[in-house]
């Protein structure tokens, strides 16, 4: 793997993600003002002092954007990773085992999916104590139902291939078959899904924040900032567009990197999975 083989778009994506991480880690040093500090008038327009202007309570949008990267990145990324681990392990186990295990897992998954995600999240979050870990876990478990669906479908395709049969004939256990035989051959669709799911989790987090069950004010998160400032759009104030653009930019960056990984993982298959 040589560095110059990485396409420019992938570099762009990695640079964007790195920027977001730097903001998240070094927020107190980078941000010009405090996260919750009121520094001027409501929806004051952008000038040299306040780069993106001020928000609905007169807080500096740039500073809140930088602090918001922390919660947004941490919650969305953790939730997506957990949902993928959970979804992949369960779906692959189902696909390899078939029979009763498959039936039980799949029907339970259908049951979970039949309940609208948002309502389910609201009920669960209303009952459970409100902290970040519970929030992440609830998001992850709800998202993992979608990953399960995809994972089972792609794993079933690979599980009937002869090299999996050859592994079974050798006497390999389930863990080897799942992680060594099937997983490397299903990475392409799963990575693509990861890019999408990550963007969805940011949006889902902001939806929950909007309903008062996500990140609690006055802590900043990008989705919450869109919600806080959305009324400004009626008056021609573009404050809501700034965090909105940040969400979009991050999602695009993640997907640029994912696209590159996708090409790399599918290049060995001789065409399969390239489409």
């Amino acid at each position: 793997m040589r560095l110059r083989d990485i396409p420019i778009t992938a570099w762009l994506g990695m640079a964007g993600i790195l920027l977001a991480f730097i903001c998240a880690i070094f927020a107190p040093w980078i941000a010009p003002y405090g996260e919750t500090e009121v520094v001027g008038n409501v929806w004051q327009v952008a000038d040299t002092q306040y780069f993106f202007g001020l928000d609905n309570l007169g807080r500096d949008i740039l500073s809140r954007l930088i602090y918001g990267a922390r919660t947004t990145l941490f919650v969305a990324l953790t939730a997506t990773i957990i949902s993928f681990s959970l979804g992949i392990i369960l779906s692959f186990t189902a696909a390899v085992s078939r029979g009763l295990i498959d039936a039980v897992f799949s029907r339970f998954n259908d049951l979970m999916m039949s309940i609208p995600t948002l309502i389910f999240a609201l009920v669960v979050l209303a009952v459970l104590p409100q902290n970040l870990i519970v929030l992440i876990l609830v998001m992850a478990i709800l998202d993992s139902t979608r990953v399960y669906r995809l994972g089972r479908a792609v794993a079933l395709d690979v599980a009937v291939m002869e090299f999996v049969e050859a592994a079974k004939l050798r006497g390999e256990g389930k863990i080897w078959i799942i992680f060594r035989e099937i997983l490397p051959n299903t990475l392409s669709p799963l990575l693509a899904e990861f890019g999408l799911r990550f963007a969805f989790s940011i949006l889902f987090l902001s939806t929950l924040s909007f309903l008062g069950l996500g990140i609690q004010p006055p802590s900043a998160d990008w989705g919450g900032m869109v919600k806080d400032n959305k009324d400004g759009i009626i008056f021609g104030i573009s404050a809501a567009l700034v965090p909105g653009s940040a969400i979009a930019a991050l999602a695009v960056c993640v997907n640029l990197v994912v696209d590159w990984l996708l090409k790399r993982t599918s290049s060995l298959k001789g065409g399969r999975g390239d489409a």
């Binding site: 090299f163 050859a166 004939l169 050798r170 006497g171 035989e181 490397p184 290049s267 060995l268 298959k269």
Partner: protein
């Protein structure tokens, strides 16, 4: 007589994308020229990658998968069709030049009735009205010997057999009364007993309609039955071009001679077949839906010898292999291995039982994980069965590579970076790594070119002599059976028809099925097809 098709200095290039390297231009066909007169058949023969399909498609001015015709000319009735442009070409394709693809099952649209698809091109080109086209289709169905020609067109592709589908596709090509048909390996995917019917039907139809044809195949014996001229291709270049007579009886080039004389491998049948390694007793098997696939099969494999199981697809020969490996436990009967009963179900077998029986698949492509290197593929059984790691493992992998006649340079390659024959060799090495006593070979050479297949067979024979291996060799190719088997089992519709030492099974008196099977194998002899057809009744209604 004027030439119908004249190809001059044809050059076809494509861009290839080797993994891990920058894309490069490769020449697929280089300076090929030939002529074809009206009503004649030219056979294009060569191994895979020789460019024969690409040349065939150039008669339709079509480049598949990024191939581009970059030089030369293709004259159809004196007019160069290459510079005609899209709309000009469209008038020719399907009207004056038609194409018959290798896999009819994949080439028909499963959502439409056969009749509609057969007449589609003729009607679209405005060559005939729907009624006329239907009448012609009916006539062609008769010529091609299809059952119930009046209603055959009302069926869907999944409702007819593979041989019938291939004939329907020929009808589709003939329907518009084309001047030229390109047959791209039309019988390669069929059983020998079906192949002979399709061959006879194609030959008959070509004679009836006076159509010229390009016949592409890798089987010289097949092309000898149907062509007037033969062109032998290798690496995109012409090796030899001449009449059938000259190519078969007096080949000039070494490569052609090798193709004609392939099947030189021979092994004397072992005289003592009493020392049994594997014994299958009264085994019956059925799928979970209750469908019976094996009926009361009994046979045995002597130590260090080869049992060949022959039969057409659906005869249960692969199912028997699945029963022996434990993938499908028998519903009745039992199997004993080395004197002890073998655990029926795979998941209950001990690691040692698994190690002693290994399997080689037909398609090495799908039998190896595309994401593992040769080192991982061969090394895994070493770690799994013998606990080898690190340097010891690498040394053993190198040793195995040497045994399969491959250099050390292959150790870090992925399967996609190997040729078909190399892949099959790696699959053999993987089986050898377990140090088995019995290897089940499920048509390991049927997807390979004749010369490559010959190499694999020789390798298997050498390994057998070195390590006292026993083989169960599943095949539909009688020539292979003659070459390598000690004992033979003939299967038909899930039943064992005939079993015994090779010399007994393959000599008369025959039962009806074995007779049919043996007579259907194409022989490298001009006029063989006619001879066989006169000695046996055409069973066109059956297939």
């Amino acid at each position: 007589m004027p030439e119908l098709l004249s190809v001059r200095d044809l050059k076809i290039e494509a861009t290839s994308y080797p993994p891990g390297e920058p894309p490069k231009r490769v020449t697929i066909v280089d300076g090929v020229s030939f002529d074809l007169k009206k009503g004649k058949v030219l056979g294009l023969i060569g191994e895979s990658g020789a460019g024969k399909s690409t040349i065939g498609l150039s008669a339709l001015a079509y480049g598949r998968g990024g191939a581009e015709i970059t030089g030369g000319s293709v004259l159809l009735d004196g007019v160069d069709i290459l510079p005609l442009g899209k709309s000009g070409i469209r008038k020719i394709r399907g009207a004056r030049v038609c194409y018959v693809a290798q896999s009819a099952a994949a080439a028909f649209n499963p959502a439409h009735r056969l009749g509609e698809q057969v007449i589609e091109a003729s009607v679209k080109h405005g060559l005939m009205t729907k009624d006329e086209a239907r009448k012609r289709a009916f006539y062609l169905f008769q010529v091609l010997g299809l059952p119930n020609p009046e209603t055959f067109g009302d069926r869907f592709p999944h409702q007819v057999s593979g041989g019938q589908l291939q004939r329907a596709m020929t009808a589709m090509a003939l329907c518009s009364n084309p001047e030229l048909i390109v047959f791209d390996e039309p019988t390669t995917a069929l059983d020998v007993t079906t192949q002979i019917d399709v061959l006879a039907a194609i030959k008959h139809a070509i004679e009836e309609t006076h159509t010229a044809a390009l016949y592409i195949t890798h089987d010289l014996a097949v092309v000898a039955q149907i062509s007037d001229d033969i062109m032998v291709l290798r690496h995109g270049k012409t090796v030899e071009y001449g009449t059938v007579q000259q190519i078969i009886e007096a080949p000039r080039e070494d490569y052609t001679r090798a193709l004609v004389n392939v099947r030189q491998t021979a092994r004397e049948e072992a005289t003592d077949q009493s020392d049994t390694l594997l014994k299958v007793e009264n085994v019956s098997a059925q799928y979970s839906n209750g469908f019976k696939v094996l009926h009361d099969v009994s046979l045995h494999v002597p130590k260090g010898q080869t049992l060949a199981i022959v039969g057409e697809s659906g005869s249960g020969k692969s199912t028997l292999a699945r029963v022996i490996t434990g993938l499908l436990p028998p519903s009745n009967g039992g199997i004993s291995f080395d004197g002890r009963p073998l655990t029926p179900a795979l998941k209950n077998r001990s690691r040692d039982e698994l190690r002693r029986i290994q399997l080689i698949y037909q398609m090495a492509d799908t039998a190896m994980n595309p994401r593992q290197t040769v080192r991982d593929i061969i090394g895994r059984p070493l770690t799994f069965y013998y606990g080898l790691h690190g340097a010891a493992k690498t040394a053993r992998v190198r040793e195995l590579l040497e045994q399969i006649e491959m250099s050390n340079g292959f150790i870090d390659r992925y399967p996609a970076e190997l040729s078909g024959g190399q892949k099959q060799r790696v699959a053999i090495a993987r089986a050898l790594a377990a140090k088995p006593e019995l290897i089940l070979c499920d048509e390991p050479t049927s997807a390979l070119d004749p010369l490559v297949a010959e190499g694999i067979l020789n390798l298997l024979l050498r390994l057998q002599a070195e390590a006292q291996l026993s083989y169960i060799f599943i095949t539909h190719d009688i020539a292979i059976v003659r070459a390598i088997a000690d004992s033979v089992a003939v299967m038909h519709r899930g039943k064992l028809v005939r079993f015994g030492p090779k010399s007994k099974v393959l000599s008369p008196p025959f039962d009806d099925y074995t007779d049919l099977l043996l007579k259907s194998v194409p022989e490298m002899e001009i006029g063989w097809l006619e001879k066989v057809l006169t000695t046996r009744k055409m069973e066109s209604a059956g297939n």
